[in-house]
């Protein structure tokens, strides 16, 4: 049986993605995690299309980490589609942006983002933030299911 996916990371920057994965591994969460590199792939994953066509996805996702700046399909578009779909609308989405000056912060919340965080530049801070997010969304927070 395939491992249950708890965390979906949608991030196009491979370095950022690796740093995130590394911090997850430190918390032993790497097995229940998937990284999707672009917006289209993310939509394919959630709606069982393209590469993921025919694969039944067990929607036990506990949290989605979503970068807004993505190639092909933008983060906001993905957010909108997720929140408009009955199957996915209850999955918590944490928007992970590069900048706190992002003009889309308001739009993100309006579309139903559950949280909005800025990736700190310093690694120590970054790891600390990831730890806190994982702790909160995977342990503290109670899912709708």
């Amino acid at each position: 049986m395939k491992n249950k996916i708890d965390i979906v990371i949608i991030e196009d920057n491979p370095n950022d993605a690796e740093l995130m994965v590394r911090s997850m591994k430190k918390n032993r969460l790497a097995n229940s995690m998937i990284v999707l590199e672009d917006g289209e792939l993310a939509l394919d994953y959630f709606f069982s299309r393209g590469k993921y066509a025919g694969k039944k996805i067990v929607c036990a996702d506990k949290v989605i980490f979503l970068d807004l700046k993505l190639p092909k399909v933008s983060g906001l578009e993905i957010l909108k589609k997720l929140k408009n779909n009955d199957k996915t609308k209850n999955i918590p989405v944490v928007v992970v942006s590069s900048s706190k000056q992002d003009p889309d912060i308001k739009t993100a919340y309006e579309l139903g983002a559950n949280s909005y965080v800025v990736k700190p530049i310093e690694y120590v801070d970054f790891v600390e933030m990831m730890n806190q997010l994982n702790l909160y969304w995977l342990v503290v927070n109670e899912n709708s299911k």
Binding site: N15, R22, Q101, I121, V124
Partner: protein, 628 residues
Amino acid sequence: MKKLTFKNIRSRLTFWFLIIALMPLFIGIILTYYQDKIIIRHENIDKLVAIRDLKVQQLNYWLDERVGDLKAIAKDYEVRTLGKIFDKKIKSPEDIKKMEIARKLMFRYLEDYDAYVEAFIINAHTGIVEISTKPKYEGMDKSNDTYFTKPLKTNEIFIKDIYYAESTGHIIEMTFSIPIFCLHDDPTHLIGIMVMRIDLSNSLYPLLKNKIGLGQTGETLIVNKNVMALNELRGYKNAPLNLQISAKPAISASQGKTGIVSTNDYKNEEVLAAYTYIPRTEWGFVCKQNISELEAPIHELIKNLTILLIVSVTIVVLIVLWISKLISKPIKDINIATQKIINGNYSVKVPVNSRDELGSLAHSINEMAVSIESNIAAKKKQYIKLKLQKKETDKANKELETFAYSVSHDLRAPLRAIDGFTRILIEDHVSKLNEEGKRFGAIIQDNTKKMSTLIDDLLTFSRMGRASISYTKIDMKSMVIAMYNETTNAEERNRIKFTVDDLPTIYGDTNLMRQVWINLISNAIKFTSYRKQAIISISCQKGKNQFTYCIKDNGSGFNKKYQDKLFTVFQRLHNQEKFKGNGIGLALVQRIISRHNGEIWAESEIDKGAVFYFNLPKNRGAINEKQN
């Protein structure tokens, strides 16, 4: 009194012009009326008096003539010698001849004046008619008649008043009688009475009936001393001796008075009556005319004046309307034109019809309209140009913002990677690194941190130029204290002697003002960090239109020479080793203050501390005004 208000200048002019023109006209006409009325009344009085006097004169002439006739006969030689013949019982043929001569004489008078009805001589002794022009009456006894007895007694002419002749009953007669004296023996010896009967209907009455100058209603009347009418009247048939008159003028006349009076006559009509008394016959004489006829000229006058008034008023009104239109039209034109100008129609032209002030005003308005039009056209052009420029600026700003965001986003990712992987390198591969390698790793991380701050500060600074300011009331003192506590830790607070005066509240953007205080306070802390006892004091000076806030420290200060460069981006007056910083802080503060329409400046000397001042407009109105 209610004040007169006019809706337009024309009615005002018309009103006053009419008053000015019509007042004298009305006064003139009224005066003319009263003057003419008085003249007419005087003329009426004069006329009636003149007619009265003329009539009385004619009456007297007539009486004189009759008396003259009588006297002529009575003084005749033949007649005066008749005395002896009268006394004879039997007349000789010679006597009869003499008597015949006397009769013929009397006949001659009768022929001369046909109003004489009869002339006869009465024997003074017997009272018997001796000679008559009507022989059938000879021998009749007249001894009891007044015309015989009166002159016999007085030896004077006697005029018997008007009476109806006995013989006919309807002929009105008068009788004159005169005594005849003897020529020879005794001139005082009375021989007879000579009597003349006169028919008045063709003598006196025609005289009275002549109504020349008395119009349709005028007439003359004579009354005896009992105020009985003696002549025929217009309004009463058979008036002589039948009509007792009770009108005032007739009574006055019969009482011997003379005058003129306005009263009611015997017909009870309003009349003007001139009256007098004729002593010889004891008659009252009245000449009268109806007031209504006499005053007809007054009615005529009123009619004429009314026509004159209507014509004059019409002409005056027309002239006044014309003049007031002439005067008010240019004003009206100017008014209409200015209204059009107000409504934005600058192509109007006021007709310039005169060379006076109005003409010059019209000319000025035309020039004004042209000037406004060209001004507005220029302003419009300018506005369009500015709008275009603003559009371009907005576009450029938008692009800049997008650019800044992209830059910050895209610069951050590699920085994060540099920092992250350097960290991983140090953590995971520590065994393969010597001390020098570890030091280099630390340098990389330190610079990453600086770069990160730089990016954040630059972004903040670039956004400051565009972000809109939301004004709220700010309690500066509590903000300063809060910011101080935020930027310092307990250790620093022990080292610093920090004082804040009472600071006035101000209108400004809370977040930006916080930024100002954070930067200024942390600056002061930074440059006093080497002092054992740092002193930072914040105060304020209240000006007329602005507040000047002031933050003073006892830090390192700066060289006056570089004062101008203090607020320039990336300009640092100290080296990195001594005081950290990227040179954006003060530039940001200056930008925020200038966005609030304030100014910032600083005073300092090296090692003697620095004072930073900034002022802000006192009230929001001034801010809004400046913004607009």
